[in-house]
């Protein structure tokens, strides 16, 4: 346990120190230059806002979190199904995959108003926006992983008499899982963006909506407090995905660590 703490500290102190320094500078400058609150509140004011408006922020965070989790779940399910289909059937790969890639060139912010017309103001619209943003990294990484399987390994399984789907389940899928998780981590990190865009376009609750309410009233500390809540949510989602990865793929984790150690111990 103590070793674990030590290692985490080792890993975390540079970003933490950097952040602490930046915050201190910000705080000092805000006071020294007497910057008005509505223009740029000092960190201490944001913290006070976080405490004072805790209930409000928690309520709207919960709305946003639901959208994010639902959207991520949809994207994961659809993304895995599409990735598997693309990797298993050439027809799907040739017909569908280019469309998946092309669809990414359409900005989400341009689609969101259309979704508003089609599905309305309720949570479904936000879930779809989140899913659209998360879908791409999940699918593309899974397809890359499934394509990078060692063909000799596939042949080995075939000599054992394994059919197409046995090869897939016993070799290709486990092989591609680290790739899938890379995609899922990226998706977790950007999922929050999707929810905020959705809420900006049309919502009556959520952190994104809260920001749209606070800005015209020059409640800048509340805008920053919402940003902090969004940041914490994004990091937490990313870390949760990384944790699931570590639990599901212990071999991958130890292999990576062992390789890292080989390099440092020389």
């Amino acid at each position: 346990m103590t070793r674990w703490v030590k290692e985490r500290l080792n890993e975390w102190w540079p970003p933490l120190a950097l952040m602490a320094g930046a915050l201190a500078l910000w705080e000092g400058l805000a006071h020294a230059l007497a910057i008005p609150r509505w223009l740029l509140p000092p960190p201490s004011a944001i913290v006070r806002e976080l405490v004072a408006r805790g209930d409000l922020l928690a309520r709207h965070s919960w709305v946003t979190l639901q959208e994010v989790l639902a959207g991520f779940a949809v994207a994961f399910t659809v993304g895995v199904a599409c990735g598997v289909a693309i990797a298993q059937w050439r027809v799907v790969e040739r017909g569908f995959y280019p469309l998946v890639v092309a669809s990414q060139t359409i900005p989400i912010i341009a689609i969101a108003p259309l979704l508003l017309i089609w599905v309305g103001y309720d949570i479904r619209m936000k879930v779809i926006v989140v899913a659209l943003i998360c879908f791409f990294p999940i699918t593309v990484n899974l397809v890359d992983g499934l394509r990078s399987v060692d063909p000799d390994l596939v042949n080995l399984l075939r000599t054992m008499g394994a059919g197409r789907w046995k090869v897939f389940l016993m070799v290709s899928l486990p092989w591609a899982l680290p790739y899938l998780f890379s995609g899922a981590k990226v998706a977790a990190a950007v999922s929050v963006i999707g929810a905020v865009i959705g809420e900006w376009v049309g919502a009556s609750a959520g952190l994104g909506w809260l920001m749209t309410q606070a800005v015209p009233r020059f409640q800048t500390p509340l805008v920053f407090a919402s940003l902090v809540a969004l940041g914490v949510m994004g990091i937490a989602l990313f870390q949760a995905t990384a944790l699931v990865e570590r639990l599901l793929l212990p071999w991958h984790y130890t292999m990576k660590r062992q390789e890292a150690l080989k390099w440092t111990s020389l």
């Binding site: 060692d150 000799d152 390994l153 042949n155 080995l156 399984l157 075939r158 000599t159 054992m160 008499g161 394994a162 046995k166 016993m170 070799v171 486990p174 899982l177 793929l249 071999w251 991958h252 130890t254 292999m255 062992q258």
Partner: protein
């Protein structure tokens, strides 16, 4: 009935519109319980030949009969081992070994018991639950051998199984394979480009020409069994080696006068 019978097998690949012949009418047969080494220069088509026998690819012409039959689905009849150990990094040694049994639908528990009973023979006792990346090259290759044997096939195809190992490990694994084969008496087809390895292990050595490969000749190895490492310097071994070299390269190799 021969265990493996290869008749007039040709194989060509199309490469950028050009037809590249790799095997040019190869014929031979392997008796049950026989150890045959297939020897040829690198790139002559040895792996291609083994892949055809394993059923991974279809010959352009000719037939390959396994145990007298030419079935429609040709995979799953022979155990096959690649030069790379091809251990799955997410499975322990034990679970890698039982892979063919799992493919065949044997319950995990029963499969593990069968693998555990063989850990001593394969020098893997104590490493059952280790992941492949923690093992040495020699141990990984032994784990791959265990997986090959557990497939439970009477015909075993080995494609340069020692090719990636250092000389010392290779020699000790050859000794080990010789005694293992003398105990199990499976039908083995070993692909190699190492003359000494072929002679040390096999009952017969099949020498191939450079690409496109044909069978240039067959050398029976009448050395006594069990084979011992000292034999590689004995006059009969050296004579065989010269004969095979000559067949491989078409040149005469200086030969010691027999005492």
């Amino acid at each position: 009935m021969p265990a493996v019978e290869v008749k007039g097998v040709r194989k060509a690949y199309a490469l950028n519109g050009r037809v590249v012949p790799v095997l040019d009418s190869v014929s031979f047969s392997v008796g049950p319980g026989e150890f045959v080494a297939i020897l040829g220069p690198s790139g002559c088509g040895k792996s291609t030949l083994l892949n055809l026998i394993a059923g991974l690819e279809e010959p352009s012409a000719g037939t390959i009969a396994i145990q007298g039959a030419v079935p429609r689905k040709r995979t799953g009849l022979c155990a096959y081992m690649h030069q790379k150990d091809l251990l799955l990094p997410w499975r322990t040694v034990l679970d890698n070994a039982i892979l063919p049994l799992e493919v065949q639908g044997v319950p995990r528990k029963a499969a593990r018991e069968r693998a555990l009973a063989l850990m001593d023979v394969f020098g893997l006792r104590g490493f059952e639950h280790a992941y492949p990346f923690t093992l040495s090259g020699g141990m990984r290759q032994r784990a791959a051998f265990l997986r090959t044997v557990l497939a439970g096939k009477s015909i075993v195809l080995l494609d340069e199984p020692f090719g990636a190992l250092d000389a010392l490990t290779r020699a000790s694994l050859q000794d080990w394979l010789a005694s293992l084969w003398e105990a199990l008496r499976l039908t083995v087809l070993l692909v190699t480009h190492d003359v000494e390895e072929a002679l040390f292990l096999a009952d017969r050595v099949l020498v191939l020409t450079p690409r496109p490969a044909r069978v240039r000749g067959v050398v029976p190895v009448s050395l006594p069994r069990p084979r011992q490492r000292e034999m590689v310097t004995s006059p009969p071994f050296v004579r065989l080696k010269a004969e095979v070299f000559q067949m491989l390269t078409g040149t005469q190799v200086a030969q010691e006068a027999p005492p």
